[in-house]
């Protein structure tokens, strides 16, 4: 390999260069809603399937919007919006089979939707009533992972287990462009390659890791990293739900058929803030967002549906009603979400018990009981009986941060 032939070139940033027609970017539906063909990846969907994808994206976006509102209203402590990434998530999620296993980050609300995970389950950790808490095995959808990159190794290990079992399922590990820098992700590539594990590494390159553009993580497109680990990488238009579906299906099939891992980079854009505590005006031009708005994943599918006459007003109206119902269910569900019992602090620290946890639980219970009768002035500030404490905790989870910097601290 010669120096010159592989000499690195910095990727060029800026709107004009980032078009779907870049070499290597798989696209089946242009931003203008035009259906195009690709030499390697093709798809043939029924009108019903196409409407299904549209419905998924619309409902996911509506759910996401509702969550943002709930956060503004103080019902959630934080929210990580997927706005703009609906196609990447719905397309890849819909490519999975029930026996596949998904390892998400904290932003895969659309993928969760395709796995029939109750949206309310996703909100618990953002409200602060749990740290996840759904049963991953119910929908083969693992808990959200906040520490960047960690889940890629869990996915590789899970896939090693599938191979050991002789099963033909596959695994998807979601991660971000920022995550691509973590050593754990590189190690996951290595393990998956060496054991030929059936795992698809699915990078949603939304071009930002909080305030850092992708250039801070890599000077070449991320999909190219796979080749150096001995497996294929492909870049797909992440705002094109058809292309994402086709490419992810192929990647999963590649994994299932014993060919080992594959890396899919879905090139997309984070339309909103990193999370509700973030303020992107501090670090990025709004022009960029505006330009990406013209590549909206939902709008382009709608254009296509309309141009092809695949959906009528009834469909859209019905979907609107459904979205409203979903939003209401989420709103009501969150508002009625009960705070955990105080003593839940001690639950599940261990599966098989731990003497110290038992001791601390008993001591704390006795301590709390001591307030049942009297404590005098000392107890004035925030008497820790279960109910009132729960209320004050609720306050703290949503209300204590009074200025923007305080808000910024709530989780990244």
């Amino acid at each position: 390999m010669s120096v010159k032939s592989t000499a690195a070139r910095r990727t060029t940033r800026g709107g004009a260069k980032r078009r779907g027609d870049e070499p290597g970017l798989v696209q089946l539906l242009t931003p203008e809603g035009e259906r195009v063909e690709h030499s390697e990846y093709s798809i043939d969907l029924t009108p019903e399937e196409l409407r299904g994808l549209y419905r998924d994206m619309v409902l996911t976006r509506r759910f996401d919007a509702e969550a943002i509102t709930l956060q503004r209203q103080g019902e959630l402590g934080l929210w990580a919006s997927l706005l703009g990434q609906e196609a990447a998530q719905i397309g890849s999620g819909r490519a999975t089979r029930p026996d596949d296993y998904i390892f998400p980050t904290y932003r895969e609300h659309g993928v969760a939707w395709t796995r029939d995970v109750d949206p309310l389950n996703l909100l618990g950790m953002f409200r602060g009533v749990n740290n996840g808490g759904w049963d991953p095995n119910e929908n083969n959808f693992h808990l959200y992972t906040i520490v960047i990159g960690s889940q890629t190794l869990h996915a590789a290990g899970y896939a090693m287990g599938i191979a050991k079992d002789g099963a033909d399922a596959a695994v998807i590990a979601y991660f971000g462009d920022g995550a691509s820098s973590q050593g754990d992700v590189a190690e996951a590539f290595t393990f998956a390659a060496v054991y030929n594990a059936p795992v698809v590494f699915f990078c949603q390159n939304n071009q930002w890791a909080i305030s850092e553009p992708t250039e801070k993580q890599s000077r070449v497109p991320i999909y190219q990293r796979a080749a150096g680990y001995g497996f294929p990488g492909v870049r797909v238009d992440g705002n094109d739900v058809l292309a994402v579906l086709a490419v992810t299906r192929a990647a999963l099939e590649h994994a299932r058929s014993g060919q080992g891992p594959m890396l899919v980079e879905a090139f997309t854009y984070r339309m909103g803030a990193h999370t509700t505590t973030d303020d992107p005006t501090r670090y990025r031009d709004d022009d960029e967002r505006v330009e990406w708005a013209s590549k909206d994943p939902i709008a382009r599918l709608r254009t296509y549906l309309d141009q092809q006459g695949l959906a009528d007003e009834d469909f859209y109206a019905g979907l609107g009603t459904e979205a409203d119902a979903l939003a209401k269910r989420v709103r009501d569900g969150v508002r009625n979400m009960r705070n955990p019992e105080t003593m839940a602090i001690f639950d599940h620290a261990y599966a098989d018990g731990h003497a110290l946890v038992d001791e601390e639980r008993a001591q704390f219970a006795a301590y709390l009981d001591s307030f049942a009768d009297s404590r005098g002035e000392g107890a004035a500030n925030g008497s820790p009986t279960t109910d009132s404490a729960a209320d004050s905790a609720a306050g703290s989870a949503t209300g204590t941060a009074t200025d923007s910097a305080a808000g910024a601290g709530k989780g990244h």
Binding site: G77, G128, V129, G178, T342, I345, G382, S396, G409, K410
Partner: protein, 328 residues
């Protein structure tokens, strides 16, 4: 103080301290995730990127081991990197570089090279955050020889202790009590600071000593005020440093009050309170009227935000321990 002192929040004091360090020593660098244009998720580095440029204020790839590992390399080249770890729970990918390389390289070289690296870590709970954003891992660093570990409790210490940490030729893990970032206090940028590792008696008292650091100093002061209403005269120590610990100051206090309660957010089990209890009991065995008691986190993962007010040691739990110590 007085003339040159101004009132500011701890976050601002830290920001000013970093600015001062960048101004006074061209070898000082700021490194971390989002420390550039954004100014860090807590805005501690606000404005520094603009004024000192990307050569001095470095937005890094999202890789904590890489951040600390390259900071070590920069220190070997003569720089004095000040690293920001975004939240307590995200320091662990860098743990190997910190304990295996940063802490030991000076000794490995028999003193021939120095590693003046500061690692700033916003730590502790109380801000209603999601998982990994509220932990108190300080003893995991304090147990490791070669590191120094400090934590300011007020804006003035935040300013000065950070200055001193940056000037120190040893690696310093600088724990910032994130829920005190917005508390205000007087900062005199002209005064001469005391020893970085000295504990301070922040309230004199005769009946019992409360020892705390970082976020819990305020809670202890409040507890002392509440106890005063009950006629109890508590002394409050701000330890400021966890490696080394200023045992002399604790001992002096305890030999006066004869009772000690140590308070921290970190889990009690193998926490800093254990080391303090063990050593002070050894030093002052015949002076103690009661065992050293400890108030802190439980041996369970940090709970979801809706439970943290009950999980975190507050006024009542401190006072309960005071009662128990005084009952001996």
């Amino acid at each position: 103080m007085s003339e040159t002192a101004t009132t500011m929040a701890m976050s601002k004091a830290l920001n000013q301290s970093l600015r001062k360090a960048l101004e006074s020593d061209p070898k000082v660098l700021i490194m971390g995730e989002d420390v550039g244009k954004l100014g860090g998720v807590f805005r501690i580095t606000d404005g520094l990127y603009k004024d000192f440029g990307e050569d001095r204020v470095i937005d890094t790839p999202l890789a904590e081991s890489g951040i600390v590992g390259t900071a070590i390399g920069l220190a070997l080249r003569g720089y004095r990197p000040v690293v920001e770890i975004q939240f307590d729970g995200f320091v662990f990918p860098a743990y190997d570089q910190i304990v295996t390389q940063l802490a030991k390289m000076h000794a490995r070289a028999l003193g021939k090279i120095k590693l003046p690296v500061v690692i700033r870590i916003p730590y502790g709970g109380g801000i209603g955050a999601v998982e990994h954003h509220s932990e108190s891992p300080e003893t995991l660093f304090a147990h490791v020889a070669g590191l120094k570990v400090v934590s300011p409790a007020n804006p003035s210490d935040a300013y000065w202790m950070l200055q001193q940490a940056i000037e120190c030729d040893d690696p310093v893990i600088f724990f910032e009590p994130k829920r005190r970032y917005w508390d205000k206090g007087q900062v005199d940028v002209e005064s001469v600071p005391g020893d970085l590792h000295k504990a301070v008696v922040v309230k004199q008292g005769a009946d019992l000593t409360l020892a705390a650091y970082g976020p819990m100093v305020k809670v202890c002061l409040e507890a002392a005020a509440a106890a005063a209403n009950e006629g109890r005269d508590l002394e409050v120590l701000d330890l400021r440093s966890l490696s080394p610990i200023d045992f002399d100051t604790i001992q002096t206090s305890v030999e006066k009050t004869r009772r000690l309660v140590v308070v921290h957010e970190a889990p009690v089990f193998y926490g800093a309170g254990a080391e303090i209890a063990a050593r002070i009991t050894e030093r002052s065995f015949y002076h103690l009227e009661a065992p050293v008691l400890r108030v802190g986190g439980f041996h369970a993962p940090y709970p979801p935000a809706r439970l943290e007010d009950e999980y975190l040691p507050g006024l009542d739990r401190v006072l309960d321990s005071v009662d128990r110590a005084l009952a001996f």
